[in-house]
């Protein structure tokens, strides 16, 4: 379980997060939706500790995250655009992260096959396509038996095979009790995965509920229309 309590963050003059509080429950997929620049990625990065919030707290499974790297031990993070050192090979990347953590999980080979990375293991990360890089990022995300998954537009750039395998993985992890926090602009993906939706607009939580409740509230039957409705007309509508 991830608890975010009155989190705020400002970048220069831009207030990206304003007093955001939310509880993300274990065994559920919570989708964070909102227009571009609503603060979704910043929220993810604040949970992870990559962004240091100006105020508020984050706890992961009861552990406060600030100044406590151990709280990240069971967090898998898939960034929007994974960026790796250019000259490192895919296999060297996996080796380094395993060495850094001092963990050598037995599931690595299976994950490499699942995301069809075996032909790319000896290639430098710089020559990989965006989608293949995303697959490498997926392997690292799921490798260390995560309890919490932070997935920032995870399927962007993935081919249909990898994308559906990723979704299966996410649902498997959820069913075995992981807390999954996901952002996506692909509505079909949300319908497939999300148990709950957190709607973020201009750095504040405007709405929270199931997908059905968004439909009911907006009177739009298709989710994409319903979310667009929320974005343009606000929650009151």
């Amino acid at each position: 379980m991830v608890v975010v309590d009155s989190l705020s963050k400002r970048f220069g003059r831009l207030q990206v997060l304003k007093d955001v509080s939310a509880t993300f429950e274990a065994g559920k997929v919570t989708a964070v939706v909102g227009p571009n620049a609503a603060g979704k990625s910043t929220l993810m990065k604040s949970i992870l500790g990559l962004v240091i919030p100006d105020g508020g707290t984050v706890t992961i499974d009861g552990m406060p995250t600030l100044g406590n790297p151990a709280s990240r031990a069971r967090v898998g993070y898939m960034p929007q655009e994974p960026r790796f050192p250019d000259n490192l090979r895919v296999s060297e990347l996996f080796d380094f992260v395993q060495d850094l953590r001092g963990e050598h999980p037995s599931g690595l080979d299976a994950l490499i096959d699942e995301f069809e990375l075996r032909p790319h293991l000896a290639k430098p990360l710089r020559v990989l396509s965006g989608g293949t890089r995303q697959k490498a990022s997926a392997v690292l995300t799921f490798l260390f038996d995560p309890n919490v998954l932070l997935l920032d537009e995870p399927s962007a750039g993935l081919d249909p095979v990898a994308s559906s395998r990723l979704k299966d993985r996410i649902l498997d992890e959820r069913d075995s009790g992981a807390t999954v926090i996901l952002t996506s602009h692909v509505m079909s993906e949300l319908e497939e995965l999300a148990d709950e939706v957190l709607f973020l607009l201009e750095g504040t939580v405007r709405f929270r509920g199931t997908i059905q409740s968004i439909r009911d509230r907006t009177g739009e039957n298709r989710l994409e229309r319903a979310v667009a409705h929320l974005m343009t007309n606000g929650v009151a509508a």
Binding site: K45, L50, I52, L100
Partner: protein, 263 residues
Amino acid sequence: MNTTLKVMRFAFFDLVRSRWMIVYTLFFLLTTAGLLYFGDDPSQAALSSLNLVLLIIPLVALMLAMNYFYYTRDFVQLILTQPVSRVSVFVGQFAGVALPLAGAFALGSGIPFAVHAFSNPVRSGLVVTLLGAGVLISLVFAALAFWIGIANDERSRALGIALGLWLGLSIVYDALMLFFVVAAQAYPIDRAMIGLSVLNPIDLSRILVLMQLDTAALMGYTGAVFRTFLGTALGTTLSIAALLTWIAVPVVLGLRTFRRKNF
């Protein structure tokens, strides 16, 4: 601690394999060997080498360390998503960059002197001080480069600051100092000169080496002041302590900024 070593080892081998480090080592190897071969006095060679060291090391240490810092920014971000503390990542990165830089100089300059010492008399105290001063100044400027890099997201801006710093400390500072000496020649300014030298790490390393020579008085005003006022032992201790402070302060400031940085 463990994480620090792993990050350090990675950065260390990454850098050691790079073409620039090899060129840098060879540069010192060839120039030092040349100075020893063509000159007739190893002390003379050490002094010529000193001038080269004081000009080249600060520039190269700033540029290479800063370049590496920006080059590995994505990688640092990846490391920070793992359960590791920011302090150990920073210290590991810094040590992994600063040690190859210092080592390249120590090896490149040390080997020719060591080889020369087999067949000729070499003042080992002088050579060791020269190598020590070069190592310290490498660490000082690597630390400054990291601090500047962390505090500036924009690479071109950081590069500008670094170049300005190098020009300021290696050229402008001495000119101002000379101007001050001339302008204030009617007053006793010896102590003020000691204070002013401590503010410039390049001057400090020069003094450190010159104090090893009997001719220190002839080699520059501040060297003479250090020697007459403090004596060689106290002067050496003081300048080493000041150089260590010059390493510690940017490391601590850089670490402070790094801990609060958003990735």
